[in-house]
Symmetry: C2
Subunit: 336 residues, 2 copies
């Protein structure tokens, strides 16, 4: 029985893009299980922009303390259990952190058992906080209606691609903004978006005007900055801007310059609203039911982008901020 836990502990508060040296690699004995605890072997880790926030400062969660194992959601298999509801071999998800072996005890952040038949990666992606963020952001905050025009940025990212696919299921017209021809081809040709804008090659504001002649009813913002400003410029009457977090700002504590055209919210009677998916915890069951059914019916695809090896977790997190990932970024820690 291997009782060595390999982990990354936070070594320094990152400044700008995170560096490998912001984390310290440790190999430690797995502690004895106490009453009410389980030992979980991590299989996959979720890689999310918000982890950059957790590493740096207090927000909706306190910052990870220096010396603490880096916080992250993950899926793993139960190795030992002092809890009656969990047995060795069970697949569970929750806040495992950046480590190979997590000692977990019941809390709002897991562990929870995966529904039978759920692929471990889908539990972190479409059926995890990523898919739930897309679901509640688009449907509850954005209140999209059939026939409306939806624009989503970061459209080839984890949340963005789900937003676009859910919007199509709801009968909306969908324009995705992504970086590069491969991502644009994927969302358009594979996922069925009505149009794609390559922000690296095209004038986003001009293209939005051409592609959304009736204006944008719902803009789902994953990036902030100039693209948010371009979308505001084409807001439809009573348009909604869903703020999910602006990835462009996470490595820039001063924040990027905000949109200069908020006056358009007045002229168009628009609404801009932020949200956190965790506020919808009491409705997760309803959403997971919809998402799992759409996946089973082939109406929504769940693409994951897997980096192998816990030792590459910092590099995997950087991939989000350079736009290297297509679909949900994961780290594979061990074979299931």
């Amino acid at each position: 029985m291997t009782d060595v836990n390999r982990c990354f502990r936070l070594a320094a508060r990152p400044e700008g893009m995170i560096k490998d040296s912001d984390f310290s690699w440790q190999e430690e004995a797995v502690p004895e299980l106490g009453p009410g605890q389980i030992l979980v072997q991590t299989l996959y880790l979720s890689v999310d922009p918000t982890q950059r926030i957790w590493s740096a400062y207090d927000s909706y969660l306190p910052a990870v303390a220096i010396g603490e194992v880096m916080r992250a959601g993950g899926v793993g298999r139960v190795l030992r259990s002092n809890l009656p509801d969990f047995s060795p071999g069970d697949l569970v998800y929750g806040m495992t952190g950046w480590q190979t072996h997590a000692v977990m005890e019941p809390s709002v952040r897991g562990p929870r058992k995966l529904p039978p038949g759920t692929p471990p990666t889908m539990a972190l992606s479409l059926l995890g906080l990523t898919g739930l963020t897309a679901y509640f952001g688009l449907l509850d905050v954005g209140r999209v209606k059939e026939g409306e025009t939806v624009v989503v940025s970061g459209a080839a990212g984890a949340t963005g691609n789900a937003v676009g696919q859910i919007a199509k299921i709801k009968g909306a017209r969908v324009v995705g903004i992504a970086g590069g021809p491969a991502k644009c081809a994927w969302i358009k040709d594979e996922l069925g978006f009505d149009a794609a804008i390559d922000y690296k090659a095209e004038d986003v504001k001009k293209r939005l005007g051409e592609l959304c002649p009736g204006g944008i009813d719902v803009y789902f913002d994953n990036v902030g900055g100039a693209i948010l400003e371009a979308a505001l410029a084409h807001l439809a009457m009573r348009g909604r801007v869903v703020l999910c977090g602006s990835i462009g700002d996470y490595n820039n504590p001063a924040g990027s310059s905000g949109p200069r055209n908020l006056m358009n919210l007045v002229i168009k009677r628009g609404r801009m609203e932020g949200f956190l998916v965790t506020d919808y915890a009491d409705r997760f069951g309803e959403a997971i039911g919809d998402l799992a059914r759409w996946a089973a019916e082939g109406r929504i695809q769940d693409r994951v982008d897997v980096v192998e090896g816990l030792e590459n977790a910092p590099a995997a997190l950087r991939r989000l901020f350079t736009g290297a990932n297509t679909g949900k970024q994961l780290v594979k820690v061990a074979d299931g």
Copy 2:
């Protein structure tokens, strides 16, 4: 019978602060009244930030055409009438424009008769679009509740002072942001605001933190820019930002730099929403009833700041952008 109409016609699209030379003074014969028209002698003109927009570009209304009489709301007395509902001597309000004699015909923008006993100036201020903007912005968009903390910028301006007074009537704690000690003393000592911040002398962000330790539940924004950013920094959980138009931007077509901290809308699950009071036209009666009753009960004051003479209309409009006015800016055109 004097049949000369003195008026300002738009001569040029203003750039930056409006100049006298953007308007051309004309003395013209009053045209013969057609069927369904009335002739109104203007008594007072409303002076509003949005007139700067009307002079420059299409927005929620088309821009005033070059050569057209400058658009403005006003109150006047009927001199002649070809409409059965209006008689000489009636006081009416509507879009008179910058002129001494307006030929008006029934439309959504007036003419309408003043309710009996209404002072002509109050019809343009507390009981006009100014007071209605405060009323619907605070109560319907901001949804203020008893015991909440409300912050309003431009607090000694026409809309701002009404926002603060209505918020007090609704049981909120109110902090006003205004320019200079006289305005701050007025809103605090005369109008009953709980606190005032002089943005010309104090660090607004720091003071908001001190004065709103539980955060800002409703921020009513009249100015945009750095003050909007400061308010966002102190937004309470589920705080609302009411965008009424940012006076700082009206002379700056590129727009001022937007707030760099929209991420706070995500962290605090906040909402920022723009509105135009004209959308509430079917509820004006209800609001005017409340406002008139509060005024009669002495619970709300209506302060007007009157510039004498139509020839000073451009200068009166400039006063809004230099912060010279306290309360509602009007131009007096003739004795009633």
